[in-house]
Each structure stands twice: as C-alpha cells, then as structure tokens.
Symmetry: D2
C-alpha cells in the first residue's frame, strides 16, 4: 500500500541521525566484548546521572523489549513464582508466551485505562494463598502503558506500597518511558521511576535508537548473576558498544527528551483537534499513542491514504483506531491527517 | 592494559564502514516492523543468490549466535529430544546452558581436531535406544569449528549420511562460516552448506557487521511457525532492517568474502612464519583462529604488549595460546607480533 | 478439629477394599518394570473394552491428575503453542503453574456454569492470529467440571466441532469422569468420550483407588514417544502394576460405576432436600460436588460439626459452600448433615 | 521368556506383605489431603528418629526417584545454575533429560568405580568461572552408586568439604540407600547422610515398598516453598498416606534394614562364590548389584534360564553382566544361579 504516511507504530524509521552518527565514531578502536567496553560504561554513567542513582547501580544494554522482559523475569523468579500483569500488558498480550516459555505464569488482571491497579494486585494476592496455585512474586507495569496512559507519581507509589505489603518486586517496562516522563504536566520523573522500581528498562528502540533498551537495577541484590542470565537468553551482544552508543547519543545532550516530546506533541495536537470536533477517545492518553473512536466510514476512507490499525470494532458504526506518532513524524503529516479527518467527519 | 594490539577475538572493532554506511541510507523511509521490511527482503534475496537456493528458502535475521542456536534448537525439538555436539562445540561449552534452558539435553561427545565425527554420532545413537534416555534428534556442528578447523565437503557429506541413517537433523553454526568457506583450498562451498544442512546460520558479527546472523532453512518444513519462535525468544527485532542492512552491505559486492579472506590471510601468515620457526600448532586451523604452542616465558613476555588468551597450560614450560584475527586486523600488527615472537623464541 | 464427618473432598479415605485386596494378589510374581507388566496390560484391556475402542489404543497409568495434565500437554505442544481452558479449569486455577512450568501459556476464558463454551474458544482463536501472541493448539475441558457440572454428548460434540474447525486437539481431564458418566440421565457415555477426545484420562484417585489415573489416546498419532514424556516428567513408575491393579479392581466387575453412583446419590439427596427447603445452588451440578448458597450463620454453625469449604463469600449474609461426596461417604452422614442444616435454616 | 528367576532389577515384586498390610489399616479414617495427614506425620517422625535429626527437619513423600530428583533440583537452582554428576549418575544417564527439562545443565564428569570424586568436582569448578558457562551450584551423588559401590563416611566428608569450599549444595540420591548403609562393615551410617547432605532421599521402591521415596532436608532453608514445587511437578499425591504408610511399615520395626541386608547377602554370596571361581568383578560393589565379567558363552547359556542384563560387551570373549538382588530374592534361586554358573565355567 502506498501511504502518504503511516501511523502504525513508532519504529518505522531507522534511527535518529545522531544515533547512526555515534556508531561511526572510533570504529576501529578495539573494545572488550560482551558489554565490558568503554562505550557501555559511558552510557551507563550518563543514565545513572539522569536517574540520580548511585554509581554502582547496574545498567545493562539489551536488544529489545521482549528480550528484556523475559531475561529479567526469567532470572528473578523461582519456578513456582508468578508475575502479575494487566491483561493489556505487553507480557500478557503481545509476547507470544515469552514469560511462560521461561516457566512462569503471568497472572492476568483486568485493567483500568490500561493500568494495573493496587486493588487488582490485592485481589490476586488474596486468591493465591497456598501451594495449589502459583505464588505472586512480581508486579509488571508499563510506563507509559500499552494504551498510552501514564501512571502518576502518586499512582506509582500506591503500586509500590502494595508490593511492599506483600513481598512483591516491581518491574517497569519502559519501552515508551520517554513518552511517559515527558508527557503534559510531567506526571512523574526519572528519579521517581528509579525510586519505586526494583528493576526497569528505558526504551531506546521506540525513541530514536537503531535498537536497544537499558535495564537498570535500583535494587542491587537482584542484579546478582544477571550477566549469566543475559548470556543464557542470547541477550549478551558480542559488541556491547552497538547498543550503548545509541544511549550515549540519546543521553549526552538530552536528545531522549527532545524526541519523546516531539512524538507527544504530535499526539496531543491530534487529541486536541479531534476533541474539539467532538471525537471521543478510548483512553486518557497523554502520550504518543492516541485511540480515537471514529465512524467506520471515516476509518475506511482514511485508511486509503494513511497507515494505522483499527484497534477495536465497537459496532456497525464506530471503531477505535490507533494512531502512533514517533520522533520522526513530520508535523505536516499530522496536520494533513487532521485536515482529512475533519473533512470526512464534517463533509 | 594498554596493548599495541589485541588478538583476543574477532569482534573488537565496531563494524566495517560499509556496514555503518548502509544504515545511514533511507533512514526516514518508513518500513514495516519485525523483519517484514524491504531491506530484509533484499538481504534475503542476496543471500539466496549466493547460496544458489530457491526463492522460497526462508531467511531470518537475528542479533547473535547464542540467540540463533537457542531459538532454532528450542523450536525444533520435542521435550525428550536432544542435540548432539562435540564437547568443544559452542552450545556445549560457551553458552551458559542456553539450550538446556529451553529444556533440552546437549549430548557431549569427544571431538577430533574440534570436529564432531560420524563415529561419535553413531556411538551416541547406539547408546540412546529407549525411553530411559533422551532421544537424539539433531546434530550440531560449527563451520569453522571453535578450534579453527574446517569440515571438508566430504566430511560434511559423511556427517549428513549418518544423520540420514538415523533420522537426525543437521544444524550448522556458521558464526565463522566466511572463514571456513574462504580458507585455503576452499574445502567446501556455499551451496554445499545449503545442501547438507537442514538449517544453518551465516555469521555477520564476526565478519564485519555491527551485529547479526542470518538463519537459513534449506529444509523448508522446519521453518513452520519459526516466526513465533523468534518472537517468543525475544529475537524478533522491531526494526528488522537494522540487521538486514548489514547483510546487504556484506553481500551486495561480496564484501563478506573479502573480509573473511583478510582475517584468514593474517592467520596463515602467523601459521607459516611460526611453523618455520619450529612452533607446533595445537590444531590444524586454516582459518582466522590460530593455536600455537609457545614457551610460557614467551607467552608472558608477549602478553605485556599484545592482548590474547592462554588457551591451555600444557605444563610448566609450554602453553597453547589463541590468536584471533579479524577483517580489521592491520597486517602491520601481525608482522609486529611475529617479529616480537621471533625475537623472544630465538633471542 | 474433630468432625462428625468431613465433606472437604473425595480423597479422604484410603481406597476401596477391593483396590487394596488386588495389590495383595501375586505379590511375589516377578513382573517387568515401568508399565510393561502383565497387570498393566490386563488393566488396559479392561479399559479398552469399557470404552469400545480398538486393541491398539494406547493406555498409560500415572499417579495423579496434575501429573497427567502436565505430561500430556507438555509432550504435545510446541513451545509457542498454548492450551485454552476455562478460568475455573484445574490447569488454570489449581495446579501451581504446572503447565506454564513446561513452557506453555494456559489461555484463560470465562466459563459458563464451569464449562468452556464453543463461543469462548472461537473468541480465543479470533484474537490469536499471528506470531505476536501464542498459537492456540489444544482445548482443555474437565468432565465432570470443577463445579460439578457435566458436558452433555451434544455439548461435547459442539466443542469437538470447534476444535476441528481450527486445528485444535481436545484433551479431557477425567479426574471425576465416573461422576459425569453415571450422573442422572447419563448425559454422555464412555464411547462418547473416546470418540470426541484426542486424549483424556480416567480418574482413579477420586473414585476409590489408592492412587492413579489412566491416560487414553484415541488419537494414536499423539501417543508417539509418549513413554519418553512419562519418564522425563518422573511419571513412569518402576512398579507399573501398583496403579494398574487399581484399575483392574475398578473395572473387572464395574466397581467404577458403582462407586461413582454412590457418590452422586449422596450429592443428589443433598440437592433435592435442600432445594425443597428453598436453598439455591450456585451451579447445576448433577455430580458429587454440590455448591449450595447458605446463610453465613448456618455455615458457621455447620462448620462446628462438619468439615467443608466455604467456596465464595457472596455478601454479609450469604456464602456458597462446597460439599463433596465420595464412594465412601456413609448415607447416614448425609442424612445427619441434612437434618442439621434443616434445623438451622428453619429453627 | 519363562525364567527360573529374573535378576534384572530390584522392583520386580509388588511389595513386602507388611507394606501392603499397612495400607489396609484404618482405610475409612478420613485424613487430610496432600501429605498433611496423620500417617505422613507419623512416618516423618519415624524417619527423623532413625536419622537422629531435629523434629523440624522437613520430610516429604514422593512417588519415585526421577520425580524426587527433578523436583528437588528444579526447585533449588536458578536458571543459569547447574548440577555436577558422574556420567554414570542416574540423572546423567537414566532419566531422559528430566533435569534439563527443568532448564538446567547436568555437568557430566568421569567416575571412579561409579563415584564422583572431589578432584572431578574441583576440575568442574576450575573450568566454570564466568558467565559464558553455567555456574555449578549443586553436587549430585548416589548412595549406593549405580555401580553398586558405596561412599565411605570419609569419602562423603571429602565431597562435603569440596562443596563447602565452593558454595555447592550436596544432594544424595538414596534410591538404594538401605543397601549402602547395611553393606559389609557399615561404611557410613544414617546420621552421616543427614550430616553431610543438604538434601537427600531415602528409597522405598527398591527396598520393599509398593512405591515411594522420602525426601529429607537437613538444610532447612532449602525447604522453603518446597510444597509448591511438589504440586507444580505433579508430585503432591492427593492421598499422602499411601506412600507414607509404606515408610511406616519399613521403619516402625526396622524392616528397612532387614530387607536391605537380605538383598546384600544374596549379592555377597554371588560375589564370594564367583570370586573363588576366579571371576573378576567390574566394580567393587558390596551391595545388591553385582557386575561379574563372564565368558560370552556362559552369559548366553545362563540367559536361557535367568533374566539379567548384559551390562557391557568387553570383547569377543567376555562381557560384564549385572545381577540385581532384592528383598524378595529367594536364596535358593541365588544358589541355583551359582550352581549353574559354576557348571558352565568349569564343565
């Protein structure tokens, strides 16, 4: 299909030029293998500074989000232990049983606006009390969520409090962490994430990098033997510098913030303009994914020219669609999309 | 340690400039995710042409060798089935139990010069005959081997014949396939690999790419649902083009051959010069890894200036060391190493 | 707690005397190990006759239901394949992630009266269409269900039809198969089970045996290498005759039917008497588990004298409780329970 | 084949009458499920008394040895951790990859007379030093070994010392623990086992029980959540009393010792008589398995009348065979076997 532009996802373009440029520096400088190189060390230092965490906080670089999730979760849980996730959570719905393939049940819960609630966690704990069911040991949340919503600092602290009350670790999937942190009103900050999470990852792939995510262990004890886990799951790249260089490019001059802000700005323009046109949104997203409800005829007409997914057919007249904006989305294309939509809604 | 040069491995430099250059082309062209992009399709076409295989032969791109091994083997075997490997094989010795973590036993056998022999395979089959032991179902060999040796076409056919006789699949780990194919006298060719193997991978990481390996399934039936396996093991990159572009760079003008030949040439100069000096080699390597036996005093003196591993301490006087050469090794450094070694051997 | 009697479960007594008696016959006769003995062969023959299946239909004896489930499911599915079960299903709720520990996701669906519906299966198939989620490959149902209900022949055929339409295997957990088959109006028969299921097991533990379940493969192809699976999961007992003898005792004179009928009769008396007293039941159970809704005060008073579980607290006034009856439940105890309940309900 | 008698194994007869008798007591007494019954508690008390361990030492009953091994090892190790075993060890050679199926590598070592030596363990530790190979975390030994030999108290302490030096747990497979403890000169005692092992099991199946092994955790910390592991692996029998009753029968009047002594006595008579005839034995077995080397013609002649395995064909003239004796072996049959052998050796 020959689209004017596609809004299917936020990984359709290769990478921000700065990320590619960084790879071309010092290419013949020999470095140690498997993440023990100087570029990885430098990238880790930049990330720790941004987070405001101690110099010994472990940071590991890994090629993708599913790999990060299965390597962390598979490494930490004993066989009878399980992870709790919203049914909309990435590990529950979109990773082909990657967690189960490491031997662990993902306990699904209903979500509220894409979020896992303290009440849902409590309910799982109440119903898993003996050896006839798995033992909940970890909570998985995505920030931003798969539905574009963002946990506020207060919500994160509430989830953390439930974890503390029941001996659960908190793991945050930050595939779109930039979009969450740089969304309107800054609902939570870098240091909040590092404070509430036992382990989390900072997504690079969806915010301008060629590839790569950075796993951070604020809870140092959990990092024990983690490099074995990385190697065993095929996640320890020979050339650690390849991913690390992406994070150097993203964090040395705060490009990470800039790219996330652009993607969010595109999204908020769509939200604002369509809302004024009376369009209702399926979720309270303040980030780079927007889920407007549109007449099916409008959806079909738009899909002639733009790439995007129908998220959910609501009935014969209306559907929820998903528009995803990235660091590379031209604002002119956003405007064109809006103009076309407006015309179709009010011909 | 501040080395003149290091010969620890063949992944110390970032990547060949052509591989990085390729990434910087068409960066804003929107592509489909997860390997369904036009760059992946193009790279697959180039690889099929090189192999001389049919247009429907499946080719998948993946970030590293351990990941390739565990994804392929974990996908194909039923739980009670096992893979046979030489005890020097990568999956047996160097992958932190990656295969076992997918639930399968790796049956170790003695090796001859780094190779798995038909006799060793036969012996395993003879001793695994009922449900009280695992069922051998796959044979794993590395071409070139971990000791730098190369299976000739005739040796490959002999292994294949044993596989056929006993219903075993043959999987070839080609992390250093280029070094094997372009070694002296061309012991076997691209199409031989595609003909004898059910599945194999072509290594990019150790032959000039930023990262990446290409998995090929000459046995089409085994490709069934393999994309599920890729996704489940965290091996399906969002931006498939990142790895695919490396293979385009390596195969569009036969850079792959050129780089492997250079690494081999460095190695053969070392082999030739040291042999003339009376040095004996631990293995019959014709590829980019060389294992000379040197006096311990010489080893220690060299390690003040060059990075390389002591492979095996033989006794109080002698050790086997490993020198690895890459596409990026300056021949001047090889010469310097040889000059220094010569001087130390015959002061 | 010193109860008059307990109705917690149907495995509180050791075994029917005939089952113990059978063990004491021919004890010194030497038999082959691991299920290749003459007693296992005899028990299999009796079971095949009861089912009306061919002489080559494989039958295996195993020590318990969770073991049967994990060995069968773990043996048949490829890593990315999943099994669909009602959220009330035993593998979903009561087996400590046994299936996930073999690497497979259990896809939970809502249940209707304890049953998995064709619609629920269809819905799973519709939402699992590509490699980003697991691939549904098997359907798990329990007959009788965990809520005491029974799939009729027509319902079984409807489930089978959905399986056929989508390439799914049908596995029936028959922990309480006797209670289902011998419930009022005989909703389905032995040969129906063997006809609709690809594989199922006949429960012994909950119907008078010391221990043991019999796994049957009407779909012969699925039996391939199953003895490897049994051995690998620790399920291949050295003395196969121990479990097989239980099935000889249960099936040589149709004791299996008799015991199931007794348990059901106890249950139906409770259902009938309490219904007349206006008690509403949580499920339409016609088998040996009954789930009446009783005032909390009545529940508490009864629990002073009888052992049984509160299944679900509905509100401040009412709860669902579970009474389970077995082959060994004295009808006098049932009557006593009913008399006490009646007195408490209508003092 | 219609044998006079078979010496294939020690589980050819059903069970000692006392074990069956015990099952027939109090059969209608209602007991709690899943090992929380009074019979299990009683059996555990008898076992603790025999071992001389504290009242809180955990004891669990399980149906077989492979199940015990996979449940214990799978529960204790993290994914990258491995267990060291002699290549003749049961988990290495005879359990169909049961340990690997829980995700862990079994590191094979050469054996000396069926035993794992401290030197072999040290060698493994020396060669597994970083994240590129698995991390040794547990040592597995069998007492008696698969070749009938017995670790002395001093040997056990030496293995323990190596474990302590390297942070390894010691697990003892006691499938034939009785045969070891009651062999000539009592090389080690019950309390030695409980002192050196972190966890071990006492075999019932091969010493007179219908089925069952008793897992004991002298290292209490390792018992944490072990009941979850039992349930998850399908090892938690609904009727715990079935296995526990076997151990009551075996330990309440020291029947366990008596049965092991009988089996050993049969074996030692064979060893003594054949040795006098000049027969050499393959291993220094003092227990119920004997491995004489016999002329092939004698082996063939004997196998017309007696059941036993050829263990290893040494050459065209001689083979090692295995004779196994049990609690139920009639001494008259031993004598008959010896008479026939003598006649064949010296016609």
């Amino acid at each position: 299909m020959n689209y004017k532009h596609q809004f299917f996802n936020d990984y359709a373009e290769t990478a921000h030029p700065a990320c590619i440029q960084k790879l071309s520096e010092h290419t013949l400088q020999q470095e140690a293998g498997y993440g023990l190189d100087s570029v990885s060390a430098h990238a880790a230092t930049l990330i720790r500074a941004k987070l405001g965490v101690a110099n010994d906080t472990p940071v590991h670089f890994i090629s993708g989000g599913t790999q990060a999730n299965l390597t962390v979760i598979g490494s930490l849980l004993r066989p009878h232990e399980a992870v709790i996730a919203a049914e909309s959570g990435h590990i529950a719905a979109n990773e082909t049983g990657a967690i189960e393939a490491t031997g662990h049940k993902v306990i699904h819960t209903p979500h509220v606006n894409g979020k896992l609630t303290p009440e849902a966690i409590e309910q799982v704990v109440r119903t898993h009390t003996n050896e006839h069911s798995v033992k909940p040991r970890m909570v998985f949340i995505s920030q931003a969520t798969e539905l574009g919503t963002v946990y506020s600092r207060i919500e994160l602290e509430a989830v953390r409090a439930v974890c503390d009350a029941h001996g659960l670790w908190l793991y945050i999937d930050g595939a779109r962490l930039g979009n969450a942190l740089y969304s309107a009103n800054a609902p939570c900050a870098w240091h909040d994430i590092a404070r509430v999470a036992d382990v989390f990852y900072i997504g690079g792939t969806k915010n301008g990098a060629l590839l790569g995510e950075a796993i951070v262990f604020p809870n140092l004890a959990l990092n024990d033997d983690f490099r074995y886990a990385l190697k065993q799951r095929g996640a320890l790249l020979a050339k650690g510098r390849v991913i690390a260089s992406q994070f150097v490019a993203l964090f040395e001059h705060d490009l990470y913030a800039e790219l996330a802000q652009h993607a969010n700005a595109c999204a908020m323009r769509v939200r604002s303009v369509l809302s004024e046109l009376g369009v209702v949104f399926y979720t309270d997203s303040l980030t780079n994914q927007q889920f407007p409800m549109l007449p099916n005829a409008v959806v079909e007409a738009l899909q002639q020219h733009y790439g995007f997914y129908t998220w959910k057919v609501l009935n014969e007249r209306k559907s929820v669609v998903r528009f995803v904006f990235s660091w590379a989305t031209p604002m002119t294309m956003v405007d064109e999309l809006l103009t076309d939509t407006k015309r179709l809604l009010h011909p």
